[in-house]
C-alpha cells in the first residue's frame, strides 16, 4: 500500500487532482471494511437485538414456572388421637389452591411405630400419587397394601414396592404436631431404603446415580433430614 502511486500517506490526492483509488477495491484509507459490509453487519446486529428483545422475555415468561419457589403450606388433618400405628386413616388435603377438586389429594396417615428404629417420625403421611405415573393408589386394609388401579403397582404397608412397574416407594408428606393437631406439609420422595430425598415426579427413580439423572427441581422443597 505504501508504494501505491495514487495516494500519499494522508490519503489526499496527488498533484494531478484525481481522487485516490481504493486499494484493495472498495476500501479507502483507514477503513477495515467496506461501507456496504459495515451497514449490512450493523443492520443485522440491530435486527438481532430487536428479535432478542422480544423473544427472550417471551421465552422467559413461558419457562419461568420451572424456577419458581412455591410457598410452603401446612394443613391440619386432625388431633393426634385420630391416628394409630396399626392402620391408615385417609385425609384429604389441598396441594394447589384455586382449582377446586383438581387441587386436592388424598393422603394416608398413621402413627409411627416406636418399636421400629427405621421409623423415627412421629406420624407418617403416605401420598396416594403412584410412583409409576401418578394415578391415585388405594389402601386395602385387608391386605395391608396400597394398590394402583392404572398399571397394577402394589406397595406394602410402608409404601415399598412389592409388585408392578413403580420405580420407587410411595412419596410422603412432611408431618408435625402443633397444639395436639397433626399437620401435613410439603411432599418428599424416598429411596428404596426409605431415605428422604427431594420430591421427584412419578416415573423417576431415586437414590444413587438416579438423583443426578433425575435432578432435583427448584419448584420442590428440600427433603427433611434423615434419621
Amino acid at each position: 500500500m505504501a508504494d501505491s502511486p495514487d495516494r500519499s500517506s494522508d490519503g489526499a490526492p496527488r498533484g494531478d487532482g484525481a481522487l485516490p483509488k481504493p486499494d484493495p477495491p472498495g476500501l479507502f484509507e483507514g477503513e477495515s471494511m467496506t461501507r456496504r459490509r459495515a451497514f449490512t453487519v450493523a443492520s443485522q446486529a440491530l435486527g438481532g437485538i430487536a428479535i432478542g428483545g422480544v423473544a427472550l422475555p417471551a421465552i422467559g415468561f413461558a419457562v419461568a414456572p420451572i424456577f419458581s419457589h412455591p410457598k410452603e403450606r401446612w394443613e391440619t388433618v386432625g388431633p393426634t388421637s385420630r391416628f394409630s400405628s396399626d392402620t391408615y386413616v385417609p385425609v384429604v388435603i389441598t396441594i394447589e389452591e384455586g382449582i377446586g377438586e383438581a387441587g386436592k389429594t388424598t393422603a394416608y396417615v398413621r402413627k409411627g411405630n416406636p418399636d421400629n428404629l427405621a421409623e423415627p417420625e412421629e406420624f407418617l403421611a403416605i401420598s396416594t400419587r403412584c410412583a409409576h405415573l401418578g394415578c391415585p393408589v388405594k389402601y386395602v386394609a385387608a391386605a395391608r397394601n396400597f394398590i394402583c388401579p392404572c398399571h397394577g403397582g402394589v406397595y406394602d404397608f410402608d409404601g415399598k414396592v412389592i409388585g408392578g412397574p413403580p420405580p420407587r416407594p410411595l412419596d410422603r408428606f412432611q408431618t408435625r404436631v402443633v397444639n395436639g393437631m397433626v399437620q401435613l406439609g410439603p411432599r418428599y420422595s424416598v429411596t428404596s431404603q426409605l431415605d428422604p430425598v427431594r420430591a421427584r415426579d412419578p416415573g423417576e427413580f431415586t437414590g444413587g446415580i438416579w438423583n443426578v439423572l433425575y435432578p432435583p427441581r427448584p419448584s420442590t422443597f428440600p427433603a427433611p433430614k434423615a434419621g
Partner: protein, 264 residues
C-alpha cells in the same frame, strides 16, 4: 340463421372486436377486464401461479392413494374450523372448563355435533396421516430429492400428536385429567431434562391453576400456527418437486429388455 329484426340503435348488438369504428363497448372491453376475477387478477397476477399449480403434470399411474395428503389437509381444515367455533363457548379455567363443556354439549344448538366433529375428526386426522405416511414410505416417495419433505412431514406428525395430547385435557373430566397426569409424568421420565419438561408443561411442580390455560394456548395458538406454516412448506415442495410414479410403473419402464428376451 335467425331473421334480422330491425332494432333501435341502442338495442343493437355492439360490433365485434376489430369491426365497427373502434369505439364500441366491445372495443373498450378489450382494454379493461370486464369481470371481478379479471380485475383482481390484473392486480395480483396470481393466474400464472394457480394454473401452474392446478394444471401441473402428474406421473402416469397416479391413483387414489395419492389423495391421502389432501384428505389430511381437509381433516386439519375441519379441525381448525370446528375448533374456532368450540372456542366461542369454552372457558379455559380449571373450575369452569367442565361446566362450559357440558353447557356446550347439552344446551348449545348443534353443540354436540360440532364437538363430535372435533373429537372424531382428531382421530380421523391421525389415521389419515399414518395412511399418507405409509403410502409415501411404500411407494419410496421419500427418496431424493424429496427427503426434506419427509422431514417436514415428520415434524407435522409430531405437532399433530402434541395437538392430541394438549387437546385431550380440555374437556377436563376425570378421564382427561388423569390421562394428562400420566402423560406429563411419562414426559418427565426422560433423563436430565425430563423433570424440567414436566414442570414446564404443568407450570409448576403440581397440576395447578396455570396448567389448563397453558395447554389451551399451546393447543389453539402455538401449535396450529406452526402446523399451518409447515403445511405451506410441505405443499410448496410437493408442487415444486412433483409427485413420484407408483413403483410398479417405473419398474416396468426400466426393466432391461434383454432379461426377458434372452432364453437359456
Amino acid at each position: 340463421m335467425s331473421p334480422r329484426i330491425p332494432l333501435p340503435q341502442a338495442l343493437r348488438k355492439p360490433p365485434r372486436p376489430g369491426e365497427g369504428n373502434g369505439a364500441g363497448p366491445a372495443e373498450q372491453l378489450k382494454e379493461v377486464p370486464a369481470d371481478l376475477v379479471g380485475w383482481v387478477d390484473e392486480r395480483l397476477g396470481l393466474t400464472g401461479f394457480l394454473t401452474g399449480m392446478l394444471y401441473r403434470k402428474v406421473p402416469k399411474g397416479t391413483n387414489w392413494f395419492y389423495t391421502l395428503g389432501s384428505a389430511t389437509l381437509i381433516a386439519f381444515t375441519f379441525q381448525a374450523l370446528t375448533g374456532v367455533f368450540l372456542a366461542m363457548y369454552y372457558t379455559p379455567s380449571a373450575t369452569q372448563a367442565y361446566g362450559s363443556i357440558t353447557h356446550l354439549t347439552n344446551d348449545v344448538f348443534l353443540g354436540e355435533f360440532v364437538r363430535g366433529m372435533h373429537k372424531w375428526g382428531a382421530s380421523v386426522m391421525i389415521i389419515l396421516i399414518f395412511l399418507h405416511m405409509a403410502r409415501t414410505f411404500i411407494f419410496g416417495a421419500y427418496k431424493y430429492p424429496r427427503e426434506l419433505n419427509w422431514v417436514i412431514g415428520v415434524a407435522l406428525l409430531i405437532l399433530t400428536m402434541i395437538m392430541g395430547f394438549t387437546g385431550y385435557l380440555l374437556p377436563f373430566d376425570q378421564r382427561s385429567f388423569w390421562a394428562t397426569v400420566v402423560g406429563v409424568n411419562i414426559n418427565g421420565t426422560g433423563p436430565i431434562l425430563g423433570p424440567y419438561l414436566s414442570d414446564f408443561l404443568r407450570a409448576g411442580a403440581e397440576f395447578n391453576a396455570s396448567t389448563l390455560p397453558r395447554f389451551y394456548a399451546i393447543h389453539m395458538l402455538l401449535v396450529p400456527g406452526a402446523i399451518i406454516a409447515l403445511i405451506g412448506a410441505h405443499l410448496y415442495l410437493v408442487v415444486k418437486l412433483g409427485t413420484t410414479a407408483p413403483p410398479w410403473l417405473s419398474a416396468e419402464e426400466y426393466e432391461p429388455k434383454s432379461l426377458r428376451t434372452e432364453r437359456v
